[in-house]
Symmetry: C2
């Protein structure tokens, strides 16, 4: 895996046949250390997993720097390929696999508002802001395309820190919005970044902007369709062939390989692998997962979580280690004052760019859902705003893609942008991340936590237990025609009232009647006709 | 992972940033196909997993060759690094993790005879035989070191085919010997290959041979110690910290990472990674596995099996695909007759080289164990002989290491040796593999299967159920001194009688009294004092 990076061996006594042995050994050993320390600090009030990994990575970087007498701290150069081909797919797939689908789809509109419209707004503000501020600070030489790239780079959020603090059961609404936004944001910023790179920046007019939006919608829908297609195919194969008859290993391998295949196919077709693998994960947890043996179910859940966890830790570790690569620092020619000015202006733009869309869009979302009992309170909006302030691995990967050629840059302006990105990621993750636990604990008091179950389906006009949701659609096939009529009439008034909820309700009926019998899934005994 | 190989893209329309996307997509898709077809052919009398994978790989190779209009069939060049750093460790670790330790250690001496002494004998015969035969067939130009390398290359067996046919419960003795020999053989041939490469071949005398044996013993003992050390450390960490308290993901990640770390550490210290990771697997299944939560136990078992399964399938697939790489074939300058002569002489040497040690060493093993009731019958010896006739991925990896420079060779003699190896691997796996199922079914009749439980601990002078084994050592701490004396006297006469068995017995006592309380493992309630 690490071979994607151009490696540099630490010592001279290493056999030339296996130059990767040293960096892999160090990375694996440090990953183990991260696991142990992360576990020991689990109950700490301030620290979280990402901060621990960045710190340990930084310490390792310093250690290597000292051992090499100041030459360079990096064992491996950052490579977007390592990131986009090996590390990101398991993280996003796991997100789709573990997401609480019901809550995700019930808050679908709000999530899409934040995750798509929000990124567009934030990109515009950060692009314009940096275009206006950077020359004033004495940092010249960036092309218009670079400013647009900066906008998308610093619009991709990293919600891991906040998700570690929020609890899915205590604040389901908030959790599902922050989680959902995080995934959609990742996909949007990568897709937008690619769209910006293809765009002809010399003549920006309403038509180019429309074509970017058109491209985006095309990518979004095809990628989603591909993910759903691969997921359904996997479910069908697992259900029809029933691998478990001979060996539960095959069904497990099938799930892992097909999930990865969906991502690679999307990349091959130049779609968004992130969206594809996310929806593939949702479909797999909804159908495929039910077609395998009990032990494979347990294993699948844990394997995906473990792969995602290791990939995430690795990324933060890597970012920490890369921060002490002094070659990049030597190359930037700006004074400390200018550099600090640039860092703070980027952080300022991030803060503003996010505030500008979170609060208005929350108000809009509340307006749309005005007939529901609990709108997004100001405190909750603040948490959502805060959750998206951290910048992470996606930012770094995109920055390397824009400003380096396979991890190397010799241009001082590009080197400056790389160091800027690293500093902003470190600052937001460490400082904002450090404040997240206390802030969330302060804003989300116990009283509020109990108010927030709107996302769980209760709290609307028709409070309904999860059990009802399963039984109701089935009833309609067994009961008399008049009962069906009654349900239809109710449904219609519901549709007027709460469109998303009603779509969800019809989906459940369709799912139980047609999808689950074909693709697998838990069914009520009465529905097995 | 695949990036280790020098890749060549199929089409021209692939974005230059991600040249690996196409080969990875094809490999993953074909792997999925292998899974499905392997499942469908599971109950077929003739075909097994390896043969299926080689066939599908071959078909894919032909397809690519046709699509590219005969240019070349390989998507990826073979790389020993891919093999030794990523594919081999999970296979060997899983072997250690799943091995039935009791049977393995009860047949330890027999396994070591076949796995170590056997490889030495086979290497000598194949080296001398090829040194004598090749020039007669008109194939000149190999150096003495090459002949020694050929000896080790064709002494590494691939017992996967046979193990798929034998059943651990029906023929425990045979299974544990074939399985154990397979693992020890892998390690021995790799270590011997490396020793031969370092050796000064210009002056072979008794001293060089002694130093090779000395090197070998040193590597064997240090590698084993390292594997045991890492395994025990992992057990201790898992037991002390109890990761499961917060997240079962961490304990799982810890096991996977530490297992891999043991292999990489061994490679870094220039020891035998295979032996290290094998013993690490044994220790982990004996101690670490008991220190994790129930779900992690299920997951660990399945994850290791799945990784091993995928790696194995990948290797056979790859070998099949590589067979149609016509560049290599164009480069050899021998006539068809000469080539056929070389192939058949290698296969002949393999058959002879194995027969020469299997039957005498079996007789020796029977003589050593003469007071046991069931010796290795001639039919069983034949199965052991047959099981080691197939050549597999280790042979290919070693051949590439000896005769190419990072997968490429421009020398016709070296190219010939590569094609020879591929042909021999294909021939032995397909033809011998094809005959394995019927042969084993013919030789091992049901009557014999019942005779064979010697390996399970019963059938000796002191038939003893597994339960006894656990209880007996514990008794000695609770009962009176006279009972202890009695046990000691019995043990002494046992030691005279059946040394391995008695060592095993004492080990169990020690294990229960000291090791398990420290490192974890299932204990009788009375021992928890």
């Amino acid at each position: 895996m690490l071979s994607l990076l151009s490696y540099e061996t630490v010592g001279e006594n290493v056999s030339p046949e296996h130059p990767q042995v040293v960096p892999i050994t160090i990375f694996v050993a440090v990953l183990c250390l991260c696991l142990v320390i992360g576990h020991l600090l689990e109950e700490n009030r301030w620290v979280n997993e990402s901060i621990t990994a960045i710190f340990i990575g930084g310490l390792t970087g310093i250690l290597i720097l000292v051992l090499r007498k100041g030459q360079s701290s990096h064992l491996l150069r950052f490579s977007e390929e390592l990131f986009f081909i090996y590390l990101l797919p398991p993280i996003i797939f796991n997100a789709g696999f573990q997401v609480k689908k019901k809550q995700f789809f019930q808050n679908f509109i709000t999530i899409m508002l934040f995750g798509i419209v929000g990124v567009f707004i934030s990109t515009v503000i950060i692009s314009l802001g940096s275009w206006w501020l950077f020359p004033k600070l004495g940092f010249l030489g960036l092309a218009p395309r670079d400013y647009l790239a900066i906008g998308t780079i610093f619009s991709s959020t990293d919600t891991v820190c906040t998700l570690q603090v929020l609890h899915q059961d205590e604040t389901p609404l908030l959790y599902s919005i922050v989680f959902g936004e995080g995934v959609v944001n990742d996909a949007t910023s990568v897709v937008l970044f690619n769209a910006v790179q293809k765009m002809d920046v010399s003549k920006i007019n309403s038509q180019t902007i429309l074509s970017v939006i058109g491209d985006f919608l095309y990518l979004f829908s095809t990628s989603t369709a591909l993910g759903i297609g691969v997921g359904l195919l996997t479910s069908l194969v697992l259900k029809t062939l029933y691998f478990g008859k001979h060996s539960s290993i095959r069904e497990l391998a099938m799930m892992v390989l097909m999930a990865y295949l969906s991502y690679m196919l999307a990349e091959l077709l130049e779609l968004s692998g992130i969206l594809t693998v996310f929806f593939c994960g949702i479909i797999m947890s909804h159908y495929s997962w039910h077609n395998v043996t009990e032990s494979s179910r347990i294993t699948a859940r844990h394997v995906f979580a473990m792969l995602s966890f290791v990939a995430e830790t690795f990324i933060f570790l890597y970012v920490g280690m890369d921060a002490f690569d002094i070659e990049k620092w030597k190359m930037t020619k700006l004074s400390l004052g200018t550099s600090l000015g640039i860092y703070s202006s980027i952080v300022f733009l991030i803060l503003v760019g996010r505030a500008v869309f979170v609060f208005p869009l929350s108000a809009f979302s509340n307006f749309m859902n005005r007939r529901k009992t609990s709108p997004l309170t100001f405190k909750q909006q603040t948490v959502i705003w805060w959750a998206g302030l951290m910048r992470g691995a996606v930012s770094i990967a995109l920055a390397f893609k824009q400003f380096t050629y396979s991890g190397v840059t010799l241009d001082p302006i590009n080197a400056t942008m790389i160091t800027n990105t690293i500093i902003v990621v470190l600052f937001t993750t460490l400082v904002f991340g450090f404040l997240t636990k206390p802030l969330v604990n302060y804003l989300i008091t116990h009283r509020m936590r109990n108010q927030n179950n709107r996302g769980g389906g209760s709290g609307g006009e028709q409070p309904r237990s999860p059990k009802d949701d399963v039984v109701l659609p089935l009833l309609s096939f067994d009961e008399s025609a008049s009962a069906n009529m009654q349900i239809a009439r109710e449904s219609f008034s519901l549709l007027m009232d709460r469109p998303v909820y009603t779509i969800h309700h019809y989906w459940r009926r369709f799912d139980n009647a047609y999808m689950r019998p074909i693709f697998g899934g838990p069914r009520h005994s009465r529905s097995e006709c």
